[in-house]
């Protein structure tokens, strides 16, 4: 009851603050940029490729499937364990899975003069969820406690006959919910403009999930070479994969909101708290790229902000070591729980002296 009142209050404040306007404006800018990019790409594709889809795609797909299977059969038997061999095998497996999917679900390849708005959105969201969307989340909720400390409004809040713990739970719930909603809406805004610009085709095109990545070390080559393995891969229609991706982005942004929320409890001012959370996102992003191959990178929360990348293989390529969706989710939850506990301990007994 009290908690529900706190949640209503926090929601009212969140939607009426100027920060929400800033977040919406920045989000619209990004959506606009994405639309422009798609428009540009569409014009290029229309200029270079004019040929239409081949009439009998089933026959050619069937032929390709047989050729790939034959090649794979020839390879089995002699396994030298070299990178080259693994790469070839892997790409054959991918081809077979794709051809089977197309034949089973009657999904023709897209004509070369058509863009796939679904997969373009998926790629763009995959990048945006590493830095841009987290920054929006930080702007939205990164001062939810510190802001009230800076403004002094925390005094008239803590004076009420409500436990401090309840106040904090309410604030956290609103931070997390609003960030999840923001992320979800943003994903669909990107999809909306992509489909409007590129056209609606591509919803059934195949996307690969549960791709594992193996790293081959070879004499003479310094860095281990990543090879995507498709033995346990799932092939999903793009629209379904996109729904999953949006849900994963929303989930990751909830973890991000929790981390920003903790900064806003532990750090003394709105300015410091917001900057620290933004700094963590950016430094984490840079570090994951620079410390490629270091095993500790997979313990950073920033590494897993693109959970869909953990599932589709992209994250492993970026950080140079294997990851899994489960691992990514565990890392995000672990960070959230530990930081949240620190926030509650701190806020529960803190002397509010300077507000």
């Amino acid at each position: 009851m009290t908690l529900w009142n706190v949640v209503q209050n926090e929601w009212m404040k969140l939607v009426r603050r100027r920060r929400l306007t800033i977040v919406v404006a920045l989000a619209l800018c990004l959506v606009g940029m994405f639309a422009l990019g798609e428009h540009h790409e569409k014009q290029i594709v229309a200029r270079v490729a004019t040929q239409a889809q081949s009439a009998d795609w089933r026959a050619s797909t069937q032929a390709d499937l047989q050729a790939a299977q034959r090649a794979l059969n020839q390879m089995s038997g002699a396994s030298s364990g070299s990178v080259m061999e693994a790469q070839t095998r892997s790409s054959l497996e991918q081809r077979i899975q794709e051809d089977r999917y197309r034949l089973a679900h009657d999904v023709a390849p897209l004509a070369p003069n058509l863009l796939n708005g679904w997969s373009n959105t998926s790629q763009f969201v995959g990048e945006a969820t590493k830095t841009f969307i987290p920054l929006l989340v930080v702007i939205l909720v990164g001062d939810i406690v510190a802001g009230e400390m800076t403004q002094g409004t925390i005094k008239l809040l803590v004076v009420r006959p409500v436990r401090r713990r309840t106040l904090l739970v309410g604030k956290w719930l609103v931070s997390v919910a609003s960030s999840g909603v923001l992320a979800f809406l943003l994903c669909f805004a990107f999809l909306g403009v992509a489909l409007a610009v590129d056209g609606p085709q591509g919803a059934m095109q195949p996307e690969w999930l549960n791709v594992s990545v193996r790293f081959f070390t070879q004499p003479g080559i310094l860095q281990p070479v990543p090879v995507a393995l498709y033995d346990h891969a799932l092939v999903w229609p793009a629209w379904q994969a996109f729904l999953l991706q949006s849900a994963l982005v929303a989930g990751a942004m909830m973890a991000m909101a929790t981390i920003a929320f903790t900064c806003s409890v532990l750090l003394p001012s709105a300015m410091v708290a917001t900057s620290a959370a933004m700094g963590a996102v950016i430094i984490g992003f840079v570090v994951s790229a620079m410390a490629r191959g270091q095993s500790w990178v997979k313990w950073l929360f920033t590494t897993h902000l693109s959970l869909y990348g953990d599932l589709a293989g992209g994250t492993a390529f970026t950080i140079g070591s294997p990851v899994s969706l489960t691992g990514g989710v565990v890392v995000l939850i672990a960070w959230s729980v530990v930081l949240l506990a620190a926030a509650f301990v701190r806020f529960g007994r803190q002397d509010i002296l300077n507000a």
Partner: protein, 304 residues
């Protein structure tokens, strides 16, 4: 009945004791002044009363509930303004009050908001954003939010700071009216005159300790002092001291302390009869003089 009680309350921050062994109690219907210069520890004390900080030692009870042990039960009875009443500028007055009403567990929210707004005279501007309020209006909204949960104790930290004289008077009248309805009011101030006009009792805080506590009525009837400009000042001072008066001589004036009106009249007559010329004579009134006497007497031992 005591609405607010402090038992040996001490607050230490770092190595410093900001306030020391405070014992006070405020009854219902009483306006209790907490008087002290800037930096004396008034705000620190008020922060402890409303649960923003914890006492290092001692206990604070509100309507019998310990603020630290049972914060929710204790705070149910408090309405407060701590330093400036910072509100959400991006919300309207009504939204601000709605926000606090929800947290105070008010039942008929709209009705209650209308009541308190009428009480402080803010009903016309309730739907304006608070960032467009004048200081006086903010102060009224501050009182409105303090009253929203129908408290038994109102805690106000220098509430008239920044108000013009008319606003101050209006505010005092509001506080007196609330006390007349049975509310206990704990109000801090660094202005003696304000405390004199608003309060029933006063505690004087200096460097973290309460050095005096008395009812305002009692202080008012206590003797005051007399300031004189006379001929042959030093001679006159010696003459008066010889006759048992407490006299200070400085800046071309004599100050005789601790005498009531008849005594002052008698002293002037004697001076004139002893052929000193009296050019000027001024009584400094009850409260201020006794305040100075109190604080002077009790802190005199370790004054620089």
């Amino acid at each position: 009945m005591n609405v607010l009680q402090l038992f040996d309350v001490t607050k230490r921050i770092g190595a410093r004791e900001i306030v020391r062994q405070l014992n006070m109690s405020v009854r219902e219907g009483e306006v209790y002044g907490f008087l002290g210069p800037n930096g004396a520890g008034k705000t620190t004390t008020i922060r402890m009363i409303v649960g923003l900080i914890r006492p290092t030692r001692g206990a604070i009870h509100i309507c019998g509930h310990d603020v630290v042990e049972e914060p929710v039960a204790a705070k149910r009875h408090i309405g407060a303004i701590v330093e400036n009443p910072e509100m959400y500028g991006y919300l309207t007055g009504r939204q601000n009050l709605l926000h606090y009403a929800r947290l105070a567990g008010v039942d008929h929210v709209d009705e209650r908001i209308r009541q308190v707004a009428r009480r402080v005279g803010l009903e016309d501007r309730l739907d304006d954003k608070v960032k467009r309020y004048s200081l006086g209006m903010r102060q009224r909204l501050g009182v409105a939010q303090a009253l929203i949960g129908d408290p038994k104790l109102l805690v106000l930290d220098e509430p008239t700071n920044g108000l013009d004289p008319a606003g101050m008077r209006e505010f005092r009248e509001l506080i007196r009216a609330l006390a007349a309805e049975g509310l206990a009011v704990f109000v801090s101030s660094h202005l003696l005159s304000e405390v004199e006009q608003m309060c029933d009792r006063v505690a004087v805080l200096q460097q973290g300790s309460v050095i005096a506590e008395a009812s305002v009525a009692e202080l008012r009837t206590r003797a005051g002092s007399l300031r004189l400009r006379v001929s042959r000042q030093e001679e006159a001072a010696a003459w008066l001291r010889a006759r048992g008066w407490q006299v200070e001589s400085a800046d071309g004036r004599l100050t005789v302390v601790d005498l009531d009106d008849p005594a002052a009249a008698k002293l002037i007559r004697e001076l004139v009869e002893a052929e000193f010329e009296v050019y000027e004579a001024a009584r400094t009134g009850g409260l201020e003089a006794s305040f100075l006497a109190l604080t002077g007497a009790e802190s005199g031992g370790n004054a620089p």
